[in-house]
């Protein structure tokens, strides 16, 4: 009796902790495929909520997309093919991580370029400061003589 209670508690906790928006009925029997489906769902955007993955979202459309992901996996699609299936319908926006291509170079590499430019600026600034003469050249004999007369006169 006690053991059954404990087991059911553990089961409940496991269910509560594991799946979020996922309905147990959606899950695949094959654990390897289900793991791939979960991983893919985390990378796909819910088009309705827009800042949630379909793994997190409770939206109706997100549930449909999770189902489609599982169907494609069962049909034997690779991860890339599953993503491509949704990109063909919803565009790159459905991917939470934007793909690296000509249109997104500024997005992916822009920050690094700005950082490099900043670093270059700092480097040039310090180089110039160091290049400045540390002390002016010593006075010539003539200058020293003039300085002495000026000081003499001031007394």
């Amino acid at each position: 009796m006690r053991r059954a209670l404990l087991a059911s508690c553990v089961l409940l906790l496991a269910l509560a902790g594991g799946a979020r928006a996922i309905d147990p009925a959606e899950q695949l029997a094959d654990p390897a495929l289900e793991a791939r489906a979960r991983a893919l769902s985390k990378e796909l955007r819910c088009l309705v909520c827009q800042n949630e993955s379909i793994d997190d979202s409770n939206a109706d459309l997100a549930r449909d997309l999770r189902r489609i992901v599982r169907e494609r996996l069962v049909a034997g699609d690779g991860d890339g093919a599953v993503k491509q299936y949704l990109v063909a319908r919803y565009g790159d926006f459905v991917l939470l991580e934007p793909p690296v291509k000509l249109k997104t170079y500024a997005l992916w590499f822009g920050p690094a370029v700005v950082l490099a430019l900043g670093a270059l600026g700092v480097l040039v600034f310090f180089r110039r400061r160091r290049a400045q003469p540390a002390a002016p050249p010593p006075l010539s004999a003539d200058e020293q003589h003039r300085l002495a007369t000026l000081l003499e006169r001031g007394r």
Partner: protein, 174 residues
Amino acid sequence: MKRLLYLLPLALFLALMGYFAVGLQRDPHILPSAMIDKPAPDFALPPLLDGKPGIARADLDGPLLVNFFASWCVPCRAEHPVLGRLAGAGVELLGIAWKDKPEDARAWLAELGDPYRRLAVDRDGRVGIDFGVYGVPETYVIDRAGKIRYREAGPITPEDLKDKILPLLAELKR
């Protein structure tokens, strides 16, 4: 030359402001369609009403509009009078009840009027997903070859109707 270099940060700042100014005008909830200039997906959907045919891919010989709607969708209600006017003006309008109970959709049309030439039920929403629908209402302009030429996400606004949809339909008719 050197002086111009000092103006560079200002120029960059202004360019960035320009981007932000344009970006702020856009509604981030309206997504561009990935299906523009692609052939409409293949499908065959059962009719919603007795006596009015359902819709299959072969029926998409445009120029025509395919409107996805649902009785549970509030903006669809707001859009409905616009559809009535379009149908009155002779635009061929096909309706797909998306993820809706057929009896609810029928009651909705009985209440508001039925502007559609053909009406179909997409109960599980799969055909909508093939079109790239992410919410209702959505309206697609289809050309003679069955290609998707334009997608309006959300209710058709008077501006988009006047500036985009009607001119496009006129162009496709030629």
